[in-house]
């Protein structure tokens, strides 16, 4: 579905991240994403970071031309979007532990608000922690981890996750963040013997499962994903290893 929506509100999440709230009739599930047009510049994928009836939001970290341009948008401005795309999380897999790393927090937040499950928010420093308010208003246990120890647990998301999983029985970890974090999350869950659902990113053009540019092995991240569970991750030889560039060439991560 393509649509033009009006920004109702812009919320500053931290020094480089803003949330844009708009009304949109579309049915969206936690873990899905949309494509946002930035006229004259680009069209880019963004997770749906909030779902409250018809009110939806995206939470954008300014890292390049398109995301910086979006940061210039104000209440009343229009966004031309399409979606929602992707499979989303299966929230019915028992006791969940939700982990958001950096702006990856945006992707898991609707899972937090829907389930109220225990949540870890991680970032490099205390200034990189986003959406804590929304999380704490829906979940009783929100734990913070920072790489530099400036707030909460001193260490990364995966380390804190292991610690928490040792104290309480979780059936499934839901996480989004940088691929290296997700790779270690996956390894940790394997060791812990629990399922996980991780939201991955690849370069996207159509977003709709047509062009094939976002594939990992034989799976379209935009359509068969972006959420993959342990079983599927085990079959993705490219997970944590390589991605395809805009030409379809393989690019190794290391």
């Amino acid at each position: 579905m393509t649509d033009v929506v009006t920004i109702k509100r812009v919320v500053d999440e931290c020094y480089d991240t803003k949330t844009f709230v708009f009304d949109w009739e579309a049915e969206a599930r936690p873990g899905q994403f949309i494509m946002i047009w930035v006229p004259g510049i680009d069209e880019i994928p963004m997770s749906i970071s909030g779902i409250d009836g018809r009110e939806k939001s995206v939470t954008v970290k300014a890292i390049g031309e398109a995301t910086r341009a979006i940061h210039g948008f104000k209440a009343g401005d229009r966004l031309r979007i399409r979606g929602p795309y992707g499979n989303g999380y299966d929230l019915g897999r028992g006791n969940l532990l939700i982990v958001g790393g950096g702006v990856g927090t945006a992707a898991v937040m609707p899972a937090v608000t829907t389930t109220g499950a225990d949540t870890i928010l991680a970032g490099r420093t205390q200034n990189d922690i986003i959406m804590e308010g929304v999380a704490t208003s829906h979940s009783d246990n929100v734990w913070i981890a920072t790489d530099d120890g400036s707030r909460g647990f001193h260490g990364n998301a995966v380390q804190l996750m292991k610690e928490k999983a040792a104290l309480k029985r979780y059936d499934c970890v839901i996480a989004c963040g940088p691929e290296v974090m997700l790779w270690f999350t996956y390894q940790a869950c394997k060791e812990l013997g629990i399922d996980c659902q991780l939201s991955l990113e690849r370069y996207m053009k159509c977003g709709a499962g047509v062009c094939g540019c976002c594939v990992m092995d034989d799976s379209r991240v935009c359509r068969d994903g972006p959420v993959f569970d342990s079983e599927k991750l085990a079959k993705l030889s490219e997970f944590g290893v390589s991605k395809r560039d805009e030409c379809g060439r393989t690019v190794k991560f290391r």
Partner: protein
């Protein structure tokens, strides 16, 4: 028992439906998946001489009844494509789609595809949104003849030409392919199209222009195949808006020996091949068509 087997020139397929070029066929593993979903063959993404990133985003959007895209022929270039072909050809029949600016480009690319194990090459003479390629060469019968002839002498595998519907001389273009010794024609590629967003007062696609595909174009494609069938002797492969067995049957009855599915891999999913195959079989069973061949072109009688 009915059989879904079909043959297009020299190529025998177990199932009549192929993946259309440009959809889930840029990498080896994704092509392999399409075989397991019931595709009788996969036509690769159109590949050119050099790596090409294609047009910048946005290059795709949904519209009523289909998609408009201007991917701009992204591909890793023929050299790197060897690896994808090696993976894919191990699992099934792959038709190598190629694009170029003239006879030399096409011949060189076709030779490579033959080396890589392609069972046939499909010449993209019809992409409506790549400057200097595709339909710019594909609406000139003498140019088409030249390219097809050149490729025919360069390779020994069958040569298919994919045609544009954006012309009133489609039958002449088809004849040019046939006269040049082409083994089959493929119709249709997308329709020239554009989407403008009023709020932003500009065309949506970075390339401005794009091509329309999906169920919106089906009646145009069926007509194109029907028209081509009245003039051509070589086999025709139908493509454009096929998403169920009825659509496939329309193309076959219009004159197609096989068909391709593109957009429906997005709208329905890769499972679309399985459901088309099932639907076609039961239809053929009930209506007494023992084979695809026996159904081909029957709407002309």
């Amino acid at each position: 028992m009915v059989s879904l087997k079909t043959s297009i020139g020299g190529i025998d397929l177990d199932k009549p439906g192929m993946v259309a070029s440009g959809i889930m066929d840029e990498t080896g593993p994704s092509m392999v998946r399409m075989f397991s979903c019931g595709a009788g063959a996969v036509v690769s993404k159109s590949v050119g001489l050099e790596p090409n990133a294609g047009h910048a985003n946005p290059c795709f959007t949904e519209v009523d009844g289909g998609y408009v895209n201007a991917m701009g022929l992204p591909n890793p270039g023929i050299e790197l494509f060897r690896e994808e072909m090696e993976t894919a050809t191990r699992a099934g029949k792959v038709v190598g789609s190629i694009y170029g600016a003239g006879p030399e480009d096409f011949s060189m690319l076709a030779g490579k595809m033959e080396d890589y194990g392609a069972c046939a090459v499909e010449l993209n003479l019809s992409c409506p949104h790549a400057k200097g390629y595709g339909m710019e060469v594909g609406t000139d019968p003498s140019m088409v003849k030249e390219i097809v002839s050149a490729v025919k002498s360069a390779v020994s595998i069958p040569v298919w030409a994919k045609l544009t519907p954006n012309t009133h001389i489609l039958p002449s273009i088809g004849m040019a392919v046939q006269e040049a010794g082409g083994d089959a024609v493929v119709a249709i590629n997308t329709l020239k199209a554009m989407v403008i967003c009023p709020e932003f007062a500009r065309p949506l696609l970075s390339n401005k222009f794009g091509g329309l595909s999906g169920s919106a174009v089906k009646p145009v494609g069926v007509r194109a195949v029907y028209d081509l069938r009245t003039v051509l002797d070589i086999p025709i492969i139908g493509v454009g808006g096929i998403s169920n067995w009825r659509d496939a049957a329309e193309y076959i009855m219009a004159g197609a020996s096989a068909f391709q599915v593109g957009s429906a891999i997005g709208t329905v999913g890769p499972e679309v091949f399985g459901s088309i195959n099932e639907g076609l079989s039961s239809f053929m069973e009930e209506y007494g068509y023992p084979s695809i061949g026996s159904m081909t072109g029957v709407a002309h009688d």
